[in-house]
Amino acid sequence: MNIQADYNFAYLDEQTKRMIRRAILKAIAIPGYQVPFSSREMPMPYGWGTGGVQVTASIIGPDDVLKVIDQGADDTTNAVSIRAFFAKVARVQTTTHTGEATIIQTRHRIPEEQLREGQTLVYQVPIPEPLRFLEPRETETRKMHALEEYGLMHVKLYEDIATHGHIATTYAYPVKVEGRYVMDPSPTPKFDNPKMHMSEALQLFGAGREKRIYAIPPFTDVVSLDFDDHPFEVQKFDKPCAICGAEAVYLDEVILDDRGKRMFVCSDTDNCESRQAAGHRGELSGMEAAQ
């Protein structure tokens, strides 16, 4: 990233930040509603989280502490570059610890550690429109939101069950926010959906390419759509994390060798490391010690 010496605090000019803040305030006032905004060019390609970066740039102040995750990890290329970007253009302190951060920008996960009042979770969203799958016309999807016509959302879930015998959607699983707007938490796993419900933290969603911002204010009702006879369920993992032994957390599958040996480990690297520091061990830790 080639950033000139005379950039404004947090890269965006104050005019633009005000425009984005107005969109954010409107989004907070109408939970789950997609507010259009004029997305700016950022010094990174679309798909790298330009929507999330613009939201973060508009809300961040010199005293904020920033954490950035991609999947659940702080050390992936995308997370590292966004963190470095803000360290440079806003000179803010950064962290990998969920508990220390005031702003957490994320691409796929909600941290395992419960978020607190005063924290803000900023999501990078590729496709904000949950109805897009079955209704390609923007004029029509807007009307459906306006008139609260959400039958189509259940058509998608119906098709899932008809095809797979159960609701097979595992990512971008649609939710209804505060009993009104249907919203796409994309692309988080449905495992994280329950964490959005009544969260103490403010949740902001930015879609750069599609030029939309939406929000879930703290303590908002967030319900995953389902059928009475096929209720919403989160993924369950057969084993605990191989490294820290955590249960009821989201695990990633890791291939260990070319003979197909696999293990499941925490997707949230910070949570895993904190647990290890506190002395928790999984089955692999023992093996490593033996080697």
Partner: protein
């Protein structure tokens, strides 16, 4: 049939710029009554149907409808939300081209179930069971419930469209050339099916057709359009057996010769 009209069309006109779509059309439709709108291509049938069914705002005139709660409402004074709700509950619309009335990329079962889900049905098992029941009533085998309409013949698609519309128990159904574009033998079977369903369910219907045989088979009453105007109307048997207007006489004699 009740003595109160279900639908009243009052002096409806639609102009496309200076061109006449339809002009000064008035009629009443009673519960359970089937009205055919006939006329040659370009006579204004589709324009009129769209004006009545709130798909196209008329330039002048009004359309009133007696709701399920017995209140009579001016359709164009209703909010868009109310109109759209009416369209997917108490009304049906069968398009000439099934692709306009179906979701081609979702299964037959979901096509039929969509209206149920739209009005809040949240039990997958019940929705599917109802969908299968409706497929049966339009002579589509249960084992096609998970197939997409893309894999269906023209006649099957049209029957699926009918099932999708009837699943919420509407009282009024609009059809625009429902058998157009189908083979003659397929047409005959579809017409029989429509006639059976309409009479079993006591549906009111407005059927647009250029085919007088369709009007004869399905409708109680008919109106004949020419250049956007209604030039003759009356009981179907009377109009076809004893047409008063020279234009209607011409239409009738032209099919009798075939």
């Amino acid at each position: 049939m009740s003595d109160q009209p279900l639908l009243s069309v009052n002096d409806v006109s639609k102009f496309y710029g200076s061109r006449v779509g339809c002009r000064d059309v008035s009629f009443d439709l009673y519960p359970g009554e089937v009205l055919a709108v006939v006329g040659e291509s370009g006579s204004g049938k589709t324009t009129l149907l769209n004006c009545i069914s709130t798909r196209l705002e008329p330039t002048n005139g009004s359309v009133t409808y007696r709701m399920r709660d017995e209140t009579t409402r001016d359709l164009y004074q209703m909010s868009e939300a109310e109109r759209r709700f009416l369209m997917r509950t108490d009304w049906g619309f069968v398009h000439q081209n099934p692709a306009d009335g179906l979701r081609m990329a979702v299964s037959a079962g979901a096509n039929v179930g969509e209206r149920l889900m739209a009005v809040g049905d949240r039990h997958y098992g019940n929705i599917r069971e109802t969908a299968i029941d409706w497929l049966g009533r339009v002579e589509i085998n249960e084992d096609r419930v998970d197939d997409q309409p893309r894999a269906f013949s023209g006649g099957m698609r049209q029957r699926l469209q009918i099932a999708r519309n009837l699943v919420t128990g509407p009282r009024l159904i609009f059809m625009d050339e429902p058998t157009g574009g189908l083979d003659v033998s397929v047409q005959a079977r579809l017409l029989d099916l429509i006639r059976g369903l309409v009479s079993d369910l006591g549906l009111a219907a407005i059927v647009v057709t250029h085919d007088l045989a369709v009007a004869r088979l399905l409708s109680h009453r008919m109106i004949v359009m020419k250049d956007g105007h209604v030039i003759e109307s009356g009981l179907t048997d009377r109009v076809l057996d004893d047409p008063h207007q020279p234009y209607t006489q011409l239409l009738v004699s032209s099919i009798l010769q075939v």
